[in-house]
C-alpha cells in the first residue's frame, strides 16, 4: 500500500518537473528575441536644413481662367541650403480650400497644370532653368504628388550643397469657373532629404 502511494507520488513529482521544464523550454525562444545587439548609426551627425526667404503670396481678388505670376516671375523666392549635408529637394501642392468651410468647397489641384471648373493649376519655374517642363519653357506643373524640384531626372544638375541657393517663382491658373465671394487658401510644400 505504502509502495503504491510512493509510486504515485514519484510519478506526480516527475510530471510536475516535466511540466515546469516544458514551460521554461517553450519560453526560451521568446526570451531570446529580446536579447542581441542593435546598432544605431546617426550618419556623421548631419544636420539638414533649407530656408525660404519668403513664404506668402498675397493675391487678393482673382478672376476666372486667368494666369497670375509672382513678381518677379522667376526670382521671387530664394531657397538656400543650410545645415551641413547635401540635399535633394521636392515640391508638392494641395487643393485650395475655402477658409470659412474647408469641407464644403475647394478647388482641386490639377495633375498637369491645366484648369477646369473648380480645378486650378500651379506651376513653378527655377531661374536659369529655361527648357524644363512639358512646354519646354522652364515652367513645371506642381501636383499633389511629390515631384522633383532640384535636381531632377533628365537634368544636368546635381544635389544642392550647403550654401547653394535656387531662385524660383510661381504661376497660378485659376479655374474656368468657381463660386465667387469665397476666400480660398492653398499651400505648396518644398521638402528636402539628405542626398
Amino acid at each position: 500500500m505504502r509502495a503504491d502511494i510512493r509510486g504515485k507520488m514519484r510519478v506526480a513529482t516527475v510530471g510536475v518537473i516535466l511540466a515546469v521544464m516544458l514551460g521554461l523550454v517553450l519560453c526560451l525562444p521568446a526570451l531570446a528575441q529580446d536579447s542581441g545587439t542593435i546598432t544605431i548609426t546617426m550618419t556623421g551627425l548631419n544636420e539638414i536644413s533649407i530656408s525660404l526667404n519668403r513664404t506668402d503670396w498675397p493675391l487678393g481678388n482673382v478672376a476666372w481662367n486667368t494666369v497670375y505670376e509672382t513678381s518677379p516671375p522667376i526670382e521671387w523666392c530664394t531657397l538656400t541650403v543650410q545645415g551641413n549635408c547635401n540635399v535633394n529637394t521636392f515640391i508638392v501642392g494641395y487643393d485650395a480650400i475655402w477658409i470659412d468651410n474647408p469641407d464644403e468647397y475647394k478647388w482641386t489641384l490639377s495633375n498637369d497644370g491645366s484648369n477646369g471648373e473648380h480645378t486650378y493649376g500651379l506651376w513653378f519655374r527655377i531661374s536659369h532653368d529655361t527648357t524644363r517642363g512639358p512646354l519646354g519653357d522652364g515652367y513645371v506643373p506642381i501636383t499633389k504628388t511629390q515631384s522633383e524640384f532640384w535636381p531632377y531626372s533628365g537634368g544636368s544638375g546635381s544635389s544642392l550643397s550647403p550654401g547653394d541657393s535656387k531662385k524660383f517663382g510661381l504661376r497660378l491658373l485659376t479655374p474656368t469657373f468657381f463660386y465667387s465671394g469665397r476666400d480660398m487658401r492653398t499651400q505648396i510644400t518644398i521638402s528636402a532629404v539628405a542626398a
Binding site: P29, T189, I190
Partner: protein, 186 residues
C-alpha cells in the same frame, strides 16, 4: 449680349479672394538632426529608440509636426525596400512646440512585430518634420530612416525548444513506463 455675359462673369469671378497676408514676409528657418539614421540587426520582436532634434532658428515659437513618408523606389537608397508598415514607428511627440532660437528632442521608436518574414530585410522610410504654417509656401525636412533586420532568431529558438520538449516528453514517458513495469513485477 456676349460682352454682357462675359462682364457679369468677370465681376463674379473677381469676388473670390486669396487673402493677403498682413504680416511682414517671414522666412522659414529651422533644421533637423540627424539627417540620416541607420538601425542594424533589429530582430523581429525588438524595438529601437533614437532622438531627432529640431532647431528653431526663427524669431517666433513654432509648432512642428512629425509624419512618415514612403519614398518611391527611385528615391530610396540602393537595395532598400519600402518600410512595410508606418504604424511600427512612434513619435514621443507627434506635435511639439519649439520656442524661438531653441531646440527640442523627440524620441522615435521603431518596433518590429515578431514574425519570421520580417527577418533579414533592408527597409527605408522618411520621417518628416514640418512647421505649422498658413502661408502659401511651406518647408518640410525629411530624415532618412534605414532599418536592417537581423537573422530570424525566432525559428531557431522555436525549433530548439520543440526538440528539447520532445526529448523530455519521451524521457518522461519511458520513466513512467519503467516505474509501472517494476511495480507490476513486485
Amino acid at each position: 449680349m456676349l460682352w454682357r455675359t462675359a462682364s457679369v462673369g468677370l465681376i463674379a469671378g473677381l469676388l473670390v479672394v486669396f487673402p493677403p497676408c498682413l504680416a511682414v514676409a517671414q522666412s522659414v528657418n529651422f533644421s533637423v538632426s540627424p539627417a540620416e539614421v541607420r538601425i542594424s540587426d533589429l530582430h523581429p520582436r525588438q524595438a529601437a529608440e533614437f532622438e531627432v532634434t529640431i532647431y528653431n532658428s526663427g524669431e517666433l515659437a513654432r509648432n512642428f509636426t512629425f509624419t512618415t513618408f514612403q519614398p518611391p523606389k527611385e528615391r530610396r537608397r540602393q537595395g532598400r525596400d519600402g518600410f512595410p508598415e508606418a504604424s511600427w514607428i512612434r513619435f514621443s511627440h507627434p506635435e511639439i512646440e519649439v520656442p524661438a532660437n531653441s531646440q527640442a528632442n523627440v524620441t522615435v521608436t521603431v518596433a518590429i512585430p515578431p514574425l519570421h518574414k520580417w527577418s533579414n530585410q533592408d527597409w527605408e522610410i522618411w520621417l518628416g518634420v514640418a512647421p505649422e504654417s498658413s502661408d502659401v509656401l511651406g518647408v518640410e525636412l525629411w530624415v532618412r530612416l534605414l532599418v536592417s533586420t537581423g537573422a530570424g532568431g525566432l525559428n531557431v529558438g522555436l525549433v530548439a525548444g520543440i526538440v528539447t520538449a520532445a526529448v523530455l516528453l519521451i524521457s518522461g514517458a519511458c520513466f513512467y513506463y519503467r516505474s509501472g513495469h517494476k511495480r507490476r513485477a513486485k
